[in-house]
Symmetry: C2
Subunit: 406 residues, 2 copies
């Protein structure tokens, strides 16, 4: 039986790395704090007797051999990078629960038919380097390694250089471990399970993600002397985009969401009309056709805005992933195990992107969700009740054990 | 006769200090580049035989004695700090033209009845420390010295510490030099003279300035999983404010202007709903009652926005100056001198704030404007034709000479 207290202790220890004054976890991908977090988790992997391998994009795999070396392993895992205002559970929970599954098997002296792998993937959050889920995307063959290594961070750093700097540019062959199945345990990060009072989500789908950077070039000028009709205000144009995104989601309704989370003005001074603005637009929908419609509407608005404000606007794709359907068989097993363990459960869709959506490209995959209190995530107040964390761990344990013995 | 070529050479030399890659002048107040600019100008003052004194807020005065030491001096001057994307003329022109007036008098061996003072005032731009015109405001008794010294910069530095660090915390008594009159020569920074093809503006008024900082606290959350109706998005709220300011100026019409030039989101990441936003609102009007109406409308909008978005909003005044009427007598002399020299001229109002508006509190004051090509300012492309720069210099020379001999 996996030990919930041991999992919580590991979660607390990892959360202490990169903790900010406001109590957040800040371990942006490939920073020194990410390295410290990685070192801690790799140390635990070795203590548990796992065979650790690191691939050229910095994904880390800890393998527990099975009785049958000729069978493909069953894999679990997630990520340990965080956003700047991250909580203790996003990603970390799935990785450390995987380690606790191994620890429990070790304690009980139980072996499995198939090898078991606990993995953590590089730059899942996408908060420092775009796209999100970059490590698992490269692993699954969806992005060329050299292109990924050349990616620039929001702070200007180059991904490959940062990876080498923190000592995680590994030499294990990319995609060398090819799993028979992948199960990712994660906190929901949204309000559904919490609002409905349900403990376990068997995640059978994941919504499409569209990330763009919008760069606006206007003309800096004096805020006091420049008549309104003579302005080419990149700052106003940026505000108009964020205002439009909100209006668009209101008009489209359904589960269309849209967010402008990042805005940078130049020169960013009180009495200077901004010369340039750079902002990001995150659009998501479970329906690919609707997501495309949202993108089309935004593009039309940007054209119109460029003309009326007299600014030039260019866009750059940072990420684009279609909605994903997970493996119904794996989702059904998760639901069955939750049922057998006496937990309330439901089928559901994920609002967030996850490494599992990349793994789904190469093997049968599904996810297990546990409730996020108040639906809060990417926030230091992110919380999941310990009993729910333990419930998710037990469902993961049972599901992996079943898959690993087939 | 003042020497236009010598003025242009000094302007070019000063513009080289703090020049950025994009050709802008960046000498934000009390930075190392401001110090280098100050050192250069003070050196020129000494070369010209001026008696240099520096007051405790870092204003610098270069005095040329008159025949009558018992008469109050006539003062000219402006500022040499710049915004981050500044041009070569804003402020610098008025100071260096003052030096050229002195140089011309020296060359001709001409003395005046009254002493002549060329001054430059600290932090006129307000781009690093609020309020703008801070040095001249303290000099004129409108802000207590200790309060001014405690002001925090946008980069967190304390004004008094920066002043001491660059060696410009002087010991001359504050307001010790009390002028009989003040004339400030400046580029218009707006489009009026350029559009109308007029060389000289006799500035008889200056519009009211209202600067506020708006701080918004929402709740950071996940951009993918958080339904639109559950958001408390400080980034969206900031955009809504900028959108409202534009709509308000459109609705009010007249010469109401409004600018959101500075916006900072936290954590400022693509997939995180912003927890906090801080932005500035610059509102101006020539009519005090209308400016108050704009402020009232903004305040009402912020209340409504806080309620609908579920965020908390607080405001902080960064500057508030009522519209100013300059001395009609001085303005009339400027117009008469322009006429006598054969320049086209008109009475006009200033859209920008200027040190002259603070000096107007303690002595008869007016300003001379010359055209800004395309009305562009606070932009590296800020330009005034050399012939216009020389025209302004000649009108300044004639006006000062007249005032100094009365
Ligand atoms: N799970 C998670 O927060 N992933 C980050 C990528 C996203 O923004 O959905
Ligand atoms: N002249 C000038 O640009 N002054 C700065 C203060 C203002 O924003 O008007």
């Amino acid at each position: 039986e996996p030990d919930g207290a041991r999992l919580l202790a590991r979660l607390a220890a990892l959360a202490d790395i990169g903790r900010t004054g406001s109590g957040a976890c800040c371990r942006l991908a490939l920073t020194d704090d990410d390295r410290r977090g990685r070192d801690l988790v790799v140390g635990w992997m070795r203590e548990l007797g796992l065979q650790v391998s690191i691939d050229p994009i910095g994904n880390v795999f800890g393998l527990r051999p099975g009785r049958r070396a000729d069978l493909a392993p069953v894999m679990t895992g997630s990520h340990i990078d965080t956003v700047r205002t991250g909580g203790a559970y996003d990603g970390n929970y799935g990785v450390l629960a995987g380690l606790e599954v191994v620890a429990a098997l070790n304690d009980a002296g139980v072996s499995t038919e198939r090898p078991l792998v606990v993995a953590f993937f590089t730059n899942e959050e996408g908060a420092r380097f775009a796209p999100d889920m970059l490590g698992s995307l490269v692993y699954a063959g969806g992005l060329a390694l050299d292109e990924a290594l050349a990616t620039r961070a929001i702070d200007g750093a180059v991904l490959g250089e940062e990876l080498a700097r923190i000592g995680y540019a590994g030499s294990a062959p990319l995609g060398g471990i090819r799993p028979a199945a992948f199960v990712e345990l994660h906190v929901e990060q949204g309000p559904v399970l919490d609002l409905e009072g349900i403990t376990i989500g068997a995640v059978e789908s994941l919504q499409g993600i569209s990330w763009q950077q919008v760069d606006i070039v206007g003309q800096s000028n004096h805020a006091g002397t420049t008549p309104m009709r003579m302005r080419h205000d990149a700052g106003y144009a940026a505000a108009a985009v964020a205002h439009f995104v909100r209006a668009l989601t209101r008009e489209m309704g359904g589960d269309q969401v849209g967010t402008v989370g990042k805005v940078d003005l130049t020169p960013n001074l009180i009495n200077v009309i901004a010369a340039r603005a750079s902002l990001t637009v995150d659009l998501r929908n479970t329906d690919e056709a609707l997501l495309q419609r949202a993108e089309t509407r935004l593009a039309a608005f940007l054209d119109e805005l460029a003309a009326t404000e007299g600014v030039s606007i260019s866009t750059q794709r940072l990420a684009r992933f279609e909605p994903v359907r997970f493996d119904p068989g794996i989702a059904a097993r998760i639901a069955a195990q939750a049922e057998a363990l006496g937990y309330t459960h439901r089928r559901m869709s994920s609002g967030a992107g996850h490494d599992a959506q990349m793994l789904a490209r190469i093997c049968p995959t599904a996810m297990i969700f546990v409730p996020s209190v108040g639906g809060i995530s990417h926030n230091p107040a992110e919380h999941t009740q310990p009993a729910d964390l333990v419930a998710g761990l037990r469902v993961l344990f049972a599901t992996l054990l079943q898959l690993a013995n087939e």
